[in-house]
Amino acid sequence: MLSDWTYALQDWRTYLSAAELTFNLSLAAFALALALGLLGALARGSSHAVLRAPAACYVEVIRNTPVLLQMFVAFFALPSAGVHLSPVQAGVVALGVNVGAYLTEIFRAGIQAVPRGQREAARVLALGPARTFVHVVLPQALRNVYPAVVNQLVQIILGSSLLSAISVPELTGTATVINSQNLLTVEDFGIAAVLYLVMTNLVSLAAALIARLAFKPPLRTRVRPRTLNPLRRLVPARREA
């Protein structure tokens, strides 16, 4: 058994470079999703129906169709319209557009949860609508939605596994190819699973640290129940909803 693991681990360089690609494209997709989410939330909350309707359409269509289908459309169907995206580009676009719809709803809820009094106070202080949004509403909205937003980054990392179907050489696809050669399924997918766990936990940890440092007063998410391992108290609670 141990020899199976050492045999499978010979490909560790391939796994690590695939994990690196996974992580990089997840970050790129997350950046796109954040931009789309903010724009979408603004559009949905706007007073102009010509902005509200397309945004609502975007959110409903994306959230009611599978992300794998969206990836296939981005890679296989767009060329019929003249848009040729490489596998990685198509993956970033598909994941970004998909999570952007969820972030639209998350940001919208967060913005709505900021008390109206804040906006009224800003108007009294003669801050224009743009400055009100950027300096008063947005920071408080971000506080509200921070755990949910971090969770969406985790979902992007996990969702990138589906990009193997459009030939992106990311972690899951690489594990499948290696598995079809050495036939050590438990070891190959076990290594991939461990790498995913490491990535998602690192993201949660980094996010919790950023929350402690960047938000004033420090943002604490829900307190963990008491555990057997006292060291766990040092790790902040993570990944809500």
């Binding site: 009611n64 992300v67 296939f72 193997s164 399924t185 995913y196 057997l228």
Partner: protein, 216 residues
């Protein structure tokens, strides 16, 4: 875009829909059961079980569903556990994966029920299982139902992932139509429309439940 070929292949789309609905319906039931069990285990006072529950949640929420499906399907093959069909592998993976998310939803609901309810039930002589099913669980309904149905919605969409291990459902049949017609746009649009038709009512229902649950 050739819509007549879509219509002439409508049998394929129908059989795909059946595959999707069958897998989704079964996984909803099994996933909910697993979620309830794990939530009950996590809120019980036995530390070993609670830690095991936490481990299960960490692993199944921290790894992708596709990896779990591939692991179960190919892993069962190479370890000699015979007779796991594609359907069974997809079902087990979906159950465990969605069950993990549902367990957290149930746990949030269970923990929101005041401790006094547990104590009062014990005073009345009800055993732990009876307390859980007849006293605690019904009171979690308003908190649990909206995210739970939202999770069912995700489950229906996640059945499309089984196409990678070869399960015949809507996505796979869409690909079969593309093989025959070599135009990807119309089949993908049809598949998207079919998923939308199934999912949109559910998503409206979730929205309505959320509004009812949050009076303000």
């Amino acid at each position: 875009m050739n819509w007549s070929t879509i219509w002439s292949n409508h049998g394929l789309f129908t059989s795909g829909l059946e595959g999707t609905v069958e897998l989704a319906a079964t996984a909803v039931v099994t996933g909910t059961v697993v979620g309830l069990l794990v939530a009950a285990v996590r809120t019980s006072r036995v530390p070993v079980l609670a830690q095991l529950g936490r481990l299960y949640l960490e692993v199944f929420r921290g790894t992708p569903l596709l990896v779990q499906m591939l692991f179960i399907y190919f892993g069962a093959a190479y370890q000699g556990i015979s007779n796991i069909t594609v359907y069974e592998a997809a079902l087990i993976a979906l159950t465990l994966y969605e069950g993990a998310y549902m367990a957290e939803i149930f746990r949030a609901g269970i923990e929101a029920v005041p401790r006094g309810q547990w104590e009062a039930s014990r005073v009345l002589g009800l055993g732990p299982v009876q307390t859980f099913t007849t006293v605690i669980l019904p009171q979690t309904r308003t908190i649990v139902l909206p995210p739970l149905v939202g999770q069912y919605l995700s489950l229906i969409k996640d059945t499309s992932i089984a196409v990678v291990i070869g399960y015949v459902e809507l996505m796979r049949q869409g690909q079969a139509v593309i093989d025959r017609t070599s135009d990807p746009v119309a089949p993908y649009l049809t598949v998207a429309a079919l998923y939308f038709i199934i999912c949109f009512p559910l998503s409206l229902a979730v929205r309505r439940m959320e509004r009812k649950a949050a009076p303000a």
